[in-house]
């Protein structure tokens, strides 16, 4: 803080104030775009359904172990008990482990990996995309080369290699997924930032002396957020699917029950116990469906073009 600028007096300026226009749009109370979007969202039955499904899934994953303390790896009944039998509602797998228990506990790992990996990928994507889009030029060129590089790299294969080489734990799996799946977000962010960078209100921020950090995080990002939120929602779905795929191939964390692991390990026995594969698959399906319904709803709610209709 260098020199103190004295408050200029505006009294001189207000000597001849023109008639303040009355019939202004301000008279019509239009809500904040956020509120409006929220209302749109809440009026979308599909999105609400998605929300309900996701909340249910989360509730089960979080509260399940309290309500239902058990070891998902524990052998509880005879192997291959079919579903809807008394001691195993959803049946038991080839070892006699309870599918329902595994489903409850497996959801935690799956959702956790999905959420954290998506978060990671979104954070990487937004950061790189923001810098590339905002600074442009050489920074952009370098970052885009990097993005292109990760796009060319076959993601699943690369993640498989990483996970195998550095032992499959929740952490490596999460990292691997995060590292290979940020490119889409980065490109999207970059495009948004490039769009906003040229807009006059961003220039105006610079003109009033805002620093880059403020412009990037406080000015452009909130504006660019709607599509990014949508893409982040979808990223969660994608990460869950990715984790499931890795686990299915036997590259998930074997000490951590997850839906993908259930499918992967029961796959050999699928002809004898379809339920051990069908239920976790359905759980993944419902979760991802929920997430994408929410994403869809957000998309509709946040897209001003659609809002007009």
């Amino acid at each position: 803080m260098s020199k103190v600028i004295t408050m200029p007096s505006a009294t001189a300026a207000s000597s001849k104030v023109p008639k303040i226009p009355k019939a202004s749009a301000a008279a019509v109370r239009v809500e904040h775009p956020g509120t409006e979007a929220m209302r749109m969202f809440l009026r979308n039955p599909a999105a609400i359904a998605g929300m309900v499904m996701l909340v249910l899934m989360l509730a089960v994953a979080i509260a399940g172990p309290w309500l239902y303390p058990a070891d998902p790896f524990e052998i509880r009944t005879a192997p291959l008990t079919p579903p809807f039998s008394e001691d195993a509602w959803l049946g038991s797998d080839y070892l006699g482990r309870d599918v329902l228990t595994a489903l409850i506990y497996g959801g935690r790992a799956t959702l956790l990996v999905g959420a954290v990996a998506a978060l990671l990928s979104v954070v990487i994507g937004i950061t790189l995309g923001a810098f590339a889009g905002y600074y442009g030029g050489k920074v952009d060129a370098a970052l885009m080369k990097l993005t292109e590089f990760f796009q060319v790299l076959p993601a699943l294969l690369f993640a498989m290699v990483v996970v195998t080489l550095f032992s499959p734990t929740l952490v490596t799996v999460t990292l691997a997924i995060g590292i290979v799946s940020w490119t889409g977000t980065a490109r999207l962010t970059r495009a948004e930032f490039m769009k906003y960078r040229g807009l006059e209100f961003v220039r105006a921020e610079r003109a009033i002396g805002a620093r880059d950090a403020r412009i990037i995080w406080k000015v452009i990002l909130p504006n660019a957020l709607p599509p990014l939120v949508v893409s982040a929602t979808l990223a969660i779905g994608a990460a869950i699917l990715f984790e499931a795929g890795l686990s299915f191939l036997g590259l998930g964390d074997p000490n951590q029950m997850s839906w993908g692991l259930m499918i992967g390990s029961s796959r050999q026995y699928v002809l004898s116990c379809w339920w051990a594969v069908a239920f976790p698959g359905a759980a993944i399906f419902i979760t991802v469906l929920a997430v994408s319904l929410i994403g869809d709803g957000l998309n509709d709610a946040l897209n001003p073009k659609l809002r007009e209709r």
Binding site: F73, E74, I75, L95, G250, N255, Y269, L271
Partner: protein, 502 residues
């Protein structure tokens, strides 16, 4: 019964991927199954451990046990038409000694003499009772010297994969790694009229479920080495197929829990015994393996001629196990935990390894031992842990390979504590055991040998470097249309020249 008939294509399903087809430089069932069809060996065995003539019409183990004379038949030719001679045998035996991973198998051999084209005399520095069994198809394929004797490294010889030439009943017409091997009848096979089949296709797939499907649909007619209880149970009720546990005596596959005896607290034999007492092998065999597996209590499979029944056993008794741990000085802490251990398992055979490891985790928790199951993403990861002795306990799956000298000694000799898997990675050292094994290894007389091995078995089950769990429930599933499904001690690892379609 039925007269065997010529013709037909046999499709064998396999989950094992052979690297190449030369069993002389590669152990393991993946290679051995095709290799035994392609390459003939001096001898073969029936289902009672009796040697039978194959390339050799007759054989004689000298009384001092230091030489084996083989008389070869005259009419045997390789797939390229060249005759099989004693030079090929000499070349092959020395090649196997040099390259095969089972170093104890032909270790004592000094040289092979070939006084004439049909006679080969294998000379050994010490008496070597395993030498006859070592002449089996899976262990001693006779390679054509004119092809493999070109000085190239045998392990990476190009002819191991392309244009493989042997003198066995079938010759290779197609080898697609990790996909399929197509073998066709060798018309000039030395056993007249054999083989009966026109063609054998080994269909390789890592996915058991699809093999099962193929079997049910009739696309596949034979599925050896099946272990999955779910599959076995399904197949047992399928009227179109038969299920047999026969044919796996020679391999002698054991599923066990190895302890790292060099590490506390497992260095304490009381702790090991307590753990053994907490494990219900019957549950494993009955429930986990669907009753298809048999419990194993000692280092030798029950079918082995040297196996005995006088062993130290540890029946399930959780209370006693707890007391034993208390006595060993491992009292339960506040949370009921005594100590922590890890358990590894060989990846890729979940029904035998991972599932049991997980069961053990559950059992040991009940006696206050917290076990972490450490997964290895792949074989090397596991092998590295074992080789570097970086483990507490590990599930392992080890074969007897017929004679104890080949498959058993390696696990218990204190001289074989090496940074390699499937050696004495338990770091088990008992001079008495070393002595017993070394002596038994030099005895020709089977009864004498058996006595030594009996003592060995008792000591080992008492020292408990390894908690033996079960015999691997290998089964051959075959279409009922198939006759002479291999049932010798080497089962599917022997020539299928007699298999036919009814």
């Amino acid at each position: 019964a039925d007269e065997p008939m010529r013709g037909g294509t046999l499709v064998i399903g396999s989950t094992q991927t052979p690297r190449h087809l030369n069993g002389a430089v590669q152990s393991g069932i993946a290679t051995a199954m095709p290799s035994t069809q392609i390459f003939a060996s001096p001898l073969r065995f029936d289902d009672k451990w009796n040697p039978q003539p194959y390339l050799a019409e007759s054989w004689k183990l000298a009384d001092d046990g230091k030489s084996l004379t083989l008389k070869l038949r005259k009419d045997a030719v390789f797939h390229d038409g060249k005759p099989v001679t004693s030079a090929d045998v000499a070349f092959s035996v020395m090649a196997i000694k040099a390259n095969h991973p089972f170093t104890t198998m032909l270790g004592p051999i000094e040289k092979v003499e070939t006084p004439d084209a049909q006679t080969a005399i294998i000379r050994m520095s010490v008496p070597h009772p395993a030498i006859v069994l070592a002449m089996s198809p899976a262990l001693c394929p006779i390679l054509p010297k004119h092809i493999y004797g070109d000085g190239q490294d045998l392990k990476n010889h190009p002819r191991n994969t392309t244009d493989v030439v042997g003198s066995g009943p079938f010759r290779v017409t197609e080898f697609k790694p990790a996909q399929r091997i197509v073998l066709e009848r060798f018309d000039k096979f030395f056993l007249a009229g054999k083989p009966y089949l026109d063609k054998v296709i080994v269909n390789v797939t890592p996915d058991m479920a699809s093999l099962m499907l193929g079997l049910e649909r009739g696309d596949i007619q034979m599925l050896p080495f099946a272990t999955l209880p779910t599959d076995l149970r399904r197949m047992a009720t399928d009227p179109k197929v038969s299920l047999t546990p026969k044919g796996y005596d020679g391999i002698g596959a054991l599923n066990w829990l190895a302890f790292n005896t060099a590490k506390k607290p497992l260095s304490d034999v009381q702790v090991r015994k307590a753990i053994a007492t907490a494990i219900d092998k019957n549950f494993i065999a009955k429930a986990l393996m669907g009753g298809f597996a048999t419990v194993s209590d000692g280092p030798l499979v029950a079918a082995s001629p040297f196996a005995v029944n006088d062993l130290v056993r540890y029946p399930l008794d959780l209370k006693k196990a707890g007391e034993m741990l208390d006595a060993a000085g491992y009292k339960a802490g506040a949370n009921g935990e005594r100590f922590k251990l890890t358990i590894d398992y060989l990846p890729g055979a979940d029904d035998q390894q991972k599932n049991v490891a997980e069961y053990i985790r559950g059992q040991l928790k009940k006696v206050g031992i917290t076990v972490e199951v450490r997964a290895s993403a792949d074989f090397p990861a596991w092998a590295k842990r074992l080789a570097s002795h970086d483990f507490d306990m590990s599930m392992d799956l080890v074969f007897n390979w017929g004679d104890p000298i080949i498959g058993v000694h390696r696990t218990y000799l204190s001289t074989n504590i090496k940074p390699i898997v499937w050696t004495n990675t338990q770091s088990y050292a008992n001079p008495k055991v070393d002595e017993l094994l070394n002596t038994a290894g030099g005895l020709i007389d089977a009864t004498q040998r058996k006595a030594y091995y009996a003592t060995f078995q008792k000591i080992v089950t008492d020292d408990l470097p390894i908690e033996f769990i079960n015999q691997v429930p290998y089964h051959t599933i075959a279409s009922k249309k198939l006759g002479n499904v291999p049932a010798t001690i080497w089962g599917p690892l022997s020539p299928m020249d007699e298999v036919y379609f009814k």
